[in-house]
């Protein structure tokens, strides 16, 4: 469903140097799969995700989605192709001056859906994410989890085959995180949507993914298949991520011990 061929992304820094966020990388994700991209901050995982729908234009390489080479499409056709790829974000990115229904309708208006069909589809999408009672609320009235549900409904509105999730739970508490992951798993199971989810939390990707790419310094350094009964990470980065170490210790006590030593 998604095929990245040796894609890379370089940025020009304000100082006139070039910074390579993603080294030439290849990745294939099958239809109906839930794939996780995990790594520490600055590993290039969000950039890699954004290369899939060309929010970042790759510096080299090819992006093929559902048999279409996005990197070869002119601007207008790329816009059409993007309707097949929904996306949600860490900070939800909703329109604050539109209601919940208005936000979902936006995606349909953009896709040129006839007015008469928009309302029915908005209703459907809000039912999928369990927000039918918030139709006329403005986003500022919603909790973080509800906002992310609206974002999911909006992303699903144009019947995409793919859903890209950029740190979808990083701004949410653990219970809400669980909630959102359940919604995503449900969408994958019921609608067969292929999901790619970027996270720095191993517990998040373990809860939902079939396969995981571990990223470090712009490269995919390891691919983990969670269908394996025992997951044995090979690289140092994967081991560190798998341990979820930093939050398991009391940092203040640790500092006190260090000071005493």
């Amino acid at each position: 469903m998604i095929q990245l061929d040796q894609v890379s992304k370089r940025f020009a820094t304000p100082q006139g140097q070039t910074f390579t966020a993603v080294e030439p990388t290849s990745l294939q994700i099958g239809a109906g799969e839930i794939h996780g991209i995990i790594g520490f901050s600055g590993a290039g995982k969000s950039t890699l995700l954004r290369l899939i729908n060309l929010l970042e234009v790759p510096s080299s390489g090819r992006v093929v989605v559902d048999g279409k080479e996005l990197t070869a499409l002119p601007k207008s056709e790329l816009r059409t192709a993007r309707r097949n790829i929904g996306m949600i974000f860490q900070h939800f990115n909703l329109l604050h001056n539109r209601t919940v229904a208005g936000n979902v309708a936006f995606a349909l208006e953009v896709a040129g859906t006839p007015r008469a069909q928009i309302n029915a589809r908005v209703k459907e999408c809000l039912e999928i994410v369990g927000l039918s009672d918030k139709t006329d609320s403005y986003p500022s009235r919603l909790s973080g989890g509800q906002k992310q549900r609206v974002a999911i409904a909006r992303a699903l509105a144009s019947h995409p085959q793919i859903l890209l999730c950029d740190e979808p739970t990083s701004a949410l508490d653990p219970y809400t995180t669980r909630d959102i992951l359940e919604v995503l798993a449900d969408i994958n199971a019921r609608l067969g949507v292929t999901i790619v989810i970027v996270s720095h939390s191993m517990s998040v990707v373990r809860a939902i993914c079939d396969t995981i790419s571990v990223m470090d310094a712009g490269n995919i350094v390891e691919r983990i298949d969670l269908a394996d009964s025992v997951v044995t990470p090979v690289t140092e980065v994967a081991r560190k991520l798998l341990d979820d170490v930093p939050t398991n210790v009391n940092v203040r006590r640790l500092n006190a011990l260090r000071a005493a030593a």
Partner: protein, 221 residues
């Protein structure tokens, strides 16, 4: 006790208020329909924005700054030949509306650019991800999300140009400012002066109040 002179100024005052509104309406309309799109273009051609045209951005920016550098009274005089071509005359409210519009367009363009800049980048990005066109992003994202800021910008501009229109009165533009100069200043009719200032104070209060209320009502953030 209201003096007879002050009463006799009544009809003149009504005409003057009408002239002021005429000048202001033309200037604001030009600002809205020319300055507005110019402001959008200023933003979108900027570095890292949707269109990202550095040269065009720099040119537009320099032009906007250039016009805004002129003290209004100098602009008024400097534009006299241009005004004659456009309005066919250099006196009266219609003629005064020409330099007023000329000043209002870049003024509003900057205000629009600033207001639109407040729209979070992520929201624009989400629209791109949904396959929105540039026009859809301008209307349904940028202007929608910045609408209360835009209303406040237009309010600030209206108040500024109300007082600019009084300056235009000096060179025969008519309007409330002209009345204040002719009767209040040249003829030493202090009561007329006070009256015109009072009218301006009331107008400013009404404009600001209406703008604030509308902006608050439009803001759902």
């Amino acid at each position: 006790m209201i003096s007879e002179e002050l009463l006799s100024i009544g009809p003149d005052l009504v005409v003057a208020i009408g002239q002021t509104f005429l000048m202001l309406s033309i200037a604001l309309a030009s600002a809205l329909f020319i300055g507005g799109p110019l402001g959008v273009l200023l933003l979108l051609t900027g570095p890292g924005q949707t269109l990202d045209r550095p040269v065009l951005h720099r040119v537009l920016s320099v032009i906007v700054n250039l016009v805004r550098s002129f003290p209004f009274i100098i602009l008024l005089v400097a534009l006299v030949p241009f005004t004659r071509v456009i309005a066919g005359t250099t006196i009266g409210p219609l003629a005064a509306a020409v330099p007023l519009s000329f000043a209002a367009i870049p003024y509003f363009a900057r205000l629009v650019e600033q207001s639109l800049r407040e729209v979070p980048r992520g929201v624009i990005e989400a629209a791109h991800a949904m396959g929105a066109s540039d026009m859809q992003i301008i209307w349904k994202v940028l202007i929608l999300e910045a609408r209360s800021g835009l209303v406040l910008a237009a309010t600030v501009m209206s108040v500024s140009f109300l007082s600019y229109s009084a300056v235009a009165g000096v060179v025969g533009g008519g309007g409330i400012g002209d009345l204040a100069i002719r009767f209040g200043y040249y003829r030493f009719q202090t009561d007329v002066m006070v009256l015109t200032v009072a009218v301006l104070v009331v107008l400013v209060q009404i404009i600001q109040w209406a703008g604030s209320v509308l902006a608050r009502r439009l803001d759902k953030r």
